[in-house]
Amino acid sequence: MKPASAPDLAGFDLASIPERIQSEVQRAIQRSIKGVEYISTSGPSLGSTPKDILSVRGTMNLYHYRPIADEIYRVPILIVMATTNRGYILDMVPGQSFIEFLLKRGYDVYMLDWSAPKPEEKNLRMEDYVLDFIPDCIRSVQRDSGEHDVTVIGYCFGGVLSLLYGSIFAGGPMKNLICFTTPIDFRGMKLFQNFSDRRYFDVDRLVDSIGNVPPEMILSSFEMLRPASRAASQVQLWENIWNDEFVKSYRMFDRWATDTLPLAGEYFRSITKDLMWDNKLFSDTMTVGGRKADIANIKVPILHAVAEHDHIVPYEAAKPLIEKIGSTDKEEVILKGGHVSLVAGPNAIRRLWPKLDSWLCERST
C-alpha cells in the first residue's frame, strides 16, 4: 500500500519530482522566449529624474534636480560622483533612485557628474578637480540656490575629492560631509597595491604613452578583484531570465558597471604616486597644487557609510577616516552589502537611505 506522502529516496521527496520537472520545463520555455527578448530589447531607461544642466566644462557636468516636495530644507546637497563611473547609479529607475528618495524627503539636490575626459584633457591634474571643478560647482550651487551653506556627499573616489576639497577650504562653505565607501589608507587596498607595485608598474611610461587611461583598463582592474564573478553572474542571469524583475535589475547594474570612464592621464599619475605609492592622505603629507590637504582640518559634521563586504574599498582602507578627521560630530556606519549595493538597489533602500535621511535632516536647516 502506498503511503500518504511518497517515500524519500536518498533524501529526495519523490512526490514533488513531477511538479519540479513541470516547473523546470516551463522555466526552460520561458528562458528561450525571454532570452530572445533580452537580446532584441534595450534595458530600462536610467537616470531619468528631471534635471537641468547648470554647467558643463570639459569632463565636468553640474546638474540640478527639480524639487518635487512642497517645502525643502534650507541647505542644498552637492553630490560628487566618483571619477571612474557615471552618476546614474544614484538615479536608476523610479522607486530605486537615491536622487528621487532625497527629492521626496525634501532635499534640494545637485550632482557633479563626469563625462569621459577627451584626449586633449589628458593634462588635467588633481588640482583641476579639487581646486577648480569642485569650488566652481559649489559657487554655482550657492548662486542657484541662494544659500551659502552646502552639504557635500562623495561616493568612493568622489569622497576622496570631497575630503581634499574640505581639507583645503576648511573655512566653508561646506556645512556637512557625507562619504560613501571612501578610502584614505591605500595600503588597505591590497590587490590594487599589488597591481600598481612601484617596482614593476611604470606609471610615467603608461601615461606618457597613452595619455588618458582607457576605460577597458579601469574595468579590467575592477573585474580582476573578483575574476569569477562576471561568469557566475551570467549563469545566474540565464537561470533567472524568466524573472522580469531579476532581468531588469541585472541590466541596470550590468550597464552601469561596464560603463566605466577613462581617467585623465596626469590625474591618474597623481593618484598612483601620491595615494597608492606614498599613501599621502593617510600620512598627512598630501598637497594639492602646493596647498596642504590634511583631513584633520575638516571640522564639519561627517557621516561615513561603509559596506561590510566591499571588495573594491575594503574596510581597512576606509576605517581611519573617522579617526583622523578633525570633526567632533562624526559617525561611521557599517552596513551590510558591497561597494555598489551599499548605495543602490533593495539593500540601500532598506539600510543606507533612511539612515542618511535621519542623520542629515536635522543638519540641513
Binding site: R20, E71, P119, N194, R205
Partner: protein
C-alpha cells in the same frame, strides 16, 4: 515545501556560488604575489609601448595618404569643444535669466520655500 538541501536546482545554484567564491579567493591569493604584478606589468608595459609605436606609424601613413592626422583631428575636436563650451555658457546664462525672471513673475511657479524642518523625534525613521 521541498527541503532546500535536497532540491537539485538549489544544490546547483549553491554549487555555482561556492565555485565562484572559491575561484575568487584562489585568484586573489595568486594575484597578491609580487610575481603576478611583475608579469602583468611587463605585459602591460610592452602593450603600451607597442601602442605608442603603432600610433606614430599610423600618423606617418595618414600623412602620406593625404588624410588628416590625429593631431589635426584633435585640433578640430578642441575647436568643437570650445564652441560647445560657449554654447553651454549661453545655456547656463539663459537658465539663470529664466530663473530670475520666473521669480520676478507671479505667473510662474517659484521654487519651493526652504523652510522644511526635520520631523519630530517620534516620527523619525528607525
Amino acid at each position: 515545501m521541498a527541503d532546500k538541501s535536497n532540491d537539485p536546482v538549489a544544490l546547483w545554484q549553491n554549487m555555482i556560488g561556492e565555485m565562484e567564491k572559491g575561484f575568487n579567493a584562489f585568484a586573489n591569493q595568486a594575484m597578491g604575489s609580487p610575481e603576478f604584478s611583475k608579469v602583468v606589468n611587463q605585459v602591460g608595459g610592452a602593450t603600451a609601448g607597442a601602442q605608442k609605436q603603432l600610433s606614430e606609424l599610423m600618423e606617418k601613413y595618414l600623412l602620406s595618404m593625404n588624410l588628416p592626422s590625429r593631431s589635426q583631428m584633435v585640433g578640430m575636436a578642441e575647436r568643437l569643444q570650445s564652441i560647445e563650451g560657449q554654447l553651454n555658457e549661453i545655456k547656463a546664462m539663459l537658465h539663470q535669466m529664466r530663473g530670475a525672471s520666473a521669480s520676478a513673475s507671479s505667473g510662474y511657479a517659484p521654487r519651493p520655500p526652504r523652510t522644511k524642518r526635520p520631523p519630530p523625534a517620534s516620527g523619525e525613521p528607525k
